[in-house]
């Protein structure tokens, strides 16, 4: 017994000294050989498993882009499906290297939770999905309505603000997951469903009869969704930030996964293209990667426009318009700092 107790105490000491000296995330990822990426449990267009169980979507592809930049292989990524509740704890604890879970960038989250938002990969806004049969044309007609909503999101707070600002009353039925929210709406527990507009499109498609519901024109909030990393690791923060920027810059320069080889081998390419594709300037080294980092991203995953089209845009079931997410030069607000 004495011996056992001794062992226990020694074990406990050993445990407390086991604090792993955590190296930077970049070294960790290189050592592991994959990027552990936190995504949603299933949100079509952003991160949802296809019939083969492969994670597909805008957020999932950003994870792949980071893997391509860091490890040179877009497939070296592992996905952790996280609920809204778990996501920040999972990132903070190091369970995931990167969180791409349609997470809204807010000041509280950016400053109070030890997180850093590395950019915006989708500019969203909160909207309403309404049963057509109610004959509602505007969100201003919703006084007294019941609203289905997902717990633990910024939408909950926006909803309260919006109805209060317009002097309207409402009842909110708060569910745990977006699927439950949809079930509740479909079965008629509530008159409206509120969420980010990109999600409304997906949720509407999931209805038994999609044409029975319409999305109202009002957008009641700003929801910049973006990748999140832990605070205090600037190198990793930069890598994620510039992965996204490289994809946006590539679209602006007209570099696609199809023509990236041509651009890379073109001696007469513009200096901007040369810097992006690693032919000039040695920018890869500045973020701890090889000079062909951006080339690999574009070659294996594609530029922002390609990914958008494939996952949520014209080529996807969601068919979302680019809208705000169009390049600044074409009327949107997507504007990446230059590589120079």
């Amino acid at each position: 017994m004495l011996k056992n107790t001794f062992k226990l105490v020694i074990g406990l000491f050993a445990l407390s000294s086991m604090v792993v000296a955590s190296a930077g995330t970049l070294e960790d990822v290189k050592r592991k050989g994959y990027v552990q990426c936190g995504v949603s449990t299933g949100l079509p267009g952003f991160s949802a498993p296809d019939d083969k169980g492969l994670m597909q979507g805008l957020d999932a592809d950003l994870c792949r882009a980071v893997a391509a930049a860091v490890l040179g292989d877009a497939s070296k990524v592992r996905f952790s499906k996280l609920t809204a509740k778990e996501r920040f704890a999972a990132l903070a604890s190091g369970e995931v290297d990167l969180l791409n879970r349609n997470t809204t960038w807010t000041m509280h989250r950016d400053t109070g939770l030890g997180l850093n938002f590395a950019g915006v990969n989708y500019y969203d806004g909160q909207g309403f999905l309404v049963k057509k049969s109610l004959g509602v044309k505007s969100a201003k007609d919703l006084d007294g309505a019941s609203v289905c909503i997902q717990a633990g999101t910024t939408t909950e707070l926006n909803l309260s603000d919006y109805f209060r600002a317009n002097g309207m009353k409402f009842k909110a039925i708060t569910y745990d997951t977006s699927d439950q929210t949809r079930s509740g709406f479909e079965a008629g527990r509530c008159d409206i469903l509120t969420s980010d507009r990109s999600q409304l499109a997906a949720l509407r498609l999931g209805l038994k009869n999609p044409s029975s519901a319409v999305v109202l024109p009002e957008i009641i909030s700003k929801e910049p969704l973006g990748p999140v990393v832990r605070q205090g690791d600037d190198q990793w923060f930069n890598i994620v930030k510039w992965t996204l920027n490289a994809q946006i810059n590539a679209e602006e320069m007209g570099i696609t996964s199809a023509n990236v080889d041509k651009h890379a081998n073109d001696a007469n390419a513009t200096p901007g293209v040369k810097r992006l594709l690693g032919k000039e300037g040695g920018f890869g080294a500045k973020i701890g990667l090889s000079d062909s980092w951006a080339y690999k991203i574009i070659k294996q995953v594609g530029n922002y426009g390609e990914v958008f089209k494939r996952t949520v845009g014209a080529d996807s079931p969601l068919k979302l318009a680019r809208g705000t997410n169009e390049l600044w030069s074409r009327g949107g607000i997507l504007y990446a700092p230059p590589v120079r």
């Binding site: 107790t5 406990l12 903070a92 309505a145 717990a151 707070l157 909110a172």
Partner: protein, 384 residues
């Protein structure tokens, strides 16, 4: 030899204490380091901040997202947990009693139905039952507000937004409540007196019916002769749903129903076991004395069975209270769903919020245990 044993015992205890202290220090140290590394602050200051998120159901506290604080959401969640627990305990006891007795019925068919009920619902996870009643039955199959099922005009309205009955308001309401309270006090003393009389002279008064009479007459007199008036507010059709009246929302209904059916099976088994534990000779003796079957059950079997029934019953009530935390699965705003769910997400204070939530359940468990222990000791066999 003896002293070395003593020494060893002391050593083990000291080591255990030390190990515990080290363990907690280790945990606390990690928490501090991790939180410092993430710029997170600790403390309960957030409880005073404005909550800002809506809550579906708050029968005890007027809730306004713009005014009320996180602490208020904690209280509301707590109140809703207590509400569904008490409702569930009452109905589960009734259901359990009915089916427990039914399982022992001489009627073969009734006994079989009761055992099928027990064996089926006891062996299916409660979470599945809750979500089944809610997502598969209540919400999709109840009529929509426009096609509500109504009974006697607006006396009872049922749709997938809730079950509505008229609300009693008006300045006579407090009179009514006081009169009810008075009636209960009256009944207490009446029953005491009737028992005494029975013990002295053997006269048996119809205690139940006379009590019921008191319960009806006293409040009626109070309301009729007082100046205050009572109003009934009927539920009425609004643009989207029905308004006014007292309403049981489907989230509460589904949770309540599932808790009742699930816990009812365990209570039925307890009660059956308790009745079986009373030896057959007791029943036979009572019948031989000329007591009727119901008298035998009421006066001889049940009082003895209760002694066997109460201890496991306590743990069923505890389980029901703890199981009410599955409310989150259907969106009923109980403590776990509102405070450890939504509030936790909005402020991210995992340690503080989870600890507070656990503490509440520990307190509830303790309270129920103590209440049942007191009741138990009063029911105990008093040897004379």
């Amino acid at each position: 030899m003896f002293s070395s044993l003593k020494f060893r015992q002391y050593a083990i205890q000291i080591f255990l204490l030390l190990a515990l202290v080290i363990f907690f220090l280790f945990i606390a140290n990690n928490a501090e380091e991790n939180m410092a590394a993430r710029n997170m602050t600790a403390g309960f200051g957030f409880l005073e901040e404005k909550a800002g998120f809506p809550i579906l159901f708050s029968p005890f506290i007027e809730y306004n997202a713009a005014i009320n604080s996180y602490f208020d959401t904690f209280l509301i969640g707590f109140g809703n947990t207590v509400l569904v627990s008490i409702l569930g305990i009452i109905t589960a006891t009734i259901v359990g009693l009915i089916f427990g007795v039914a399982r022992l019925s001489q009627n073969w068919l009734v006994a079989k139905i009761a055992s099928v009920y027990v064996e089926v619902f006891r062996n299916i996870p409660l979470l599945l039952q809750i979500t089944f009643w809610y997502f598969a039955i209540m919400i999709p199959l109840l009529p929509s507000p426009r096609q509500s099922f109504t009974l006697g005009g607006d006396w009872f309205v049922m749709n997938n937004r809730g079950f509505y009955v008229p609300e009693v308001t008006g300045d006579g309401l407090s009179t009514l409540l006081y009169a009810l309270l008075f009636a209960f006090v009256l009944i207490y003393f009446f029953v005491k007196w009737a028992k005494k009389k029975q013990a002295e002279s053997g006269t048996v008064l119809p205690k139940f019916w006379l009590s019921l009479l008191i319960l009806i007459i006293v409040p009626t007199i109070a309301v009729v002769f007082s100046s205050g008036n009572l109003e009934l507010v009927f539920p009425e059709k609004g643009r989207f749903a029905w308004r006014g009246g007292w309403v049981v929302i489907p989230e509460l209904a589904a949770l309540w129903l599932a808790l009742t059916i699930y816990t009812g099976t365990f209570i039925a088994e307890n009660i059956r076991g308790g009745i079986l534990a009373v030896s057959k000779g007791q029943t036979e003796a009572a019948l031989a004395l000329g007591l009727s079957r119901s008298q035998t059950l009421r006066l001889v079997v049940i009082p003895q069975a209760l002694r066997v029934i109460i201890p496991p019953q306590t743990s069923q009530y505890l389980n029901l209270t703890k199981n009410s935390s599955l409310a989150a699965a259907v969106g009923y705003p109980d403590l776990v769903s509102v405070f450890a769910g939504t509030a936790l997400n909005q402020v991210g204070r995992a340690i503080e919020i989870i600890s507070m939530t656990m503490l509440v359940y520990l307190t509830l468990s303790l309270t129920i245990s103590i209440c049942m222990n007191i009741y138990n000791s009063r029911m105990k066999l008093r040897e004379r």
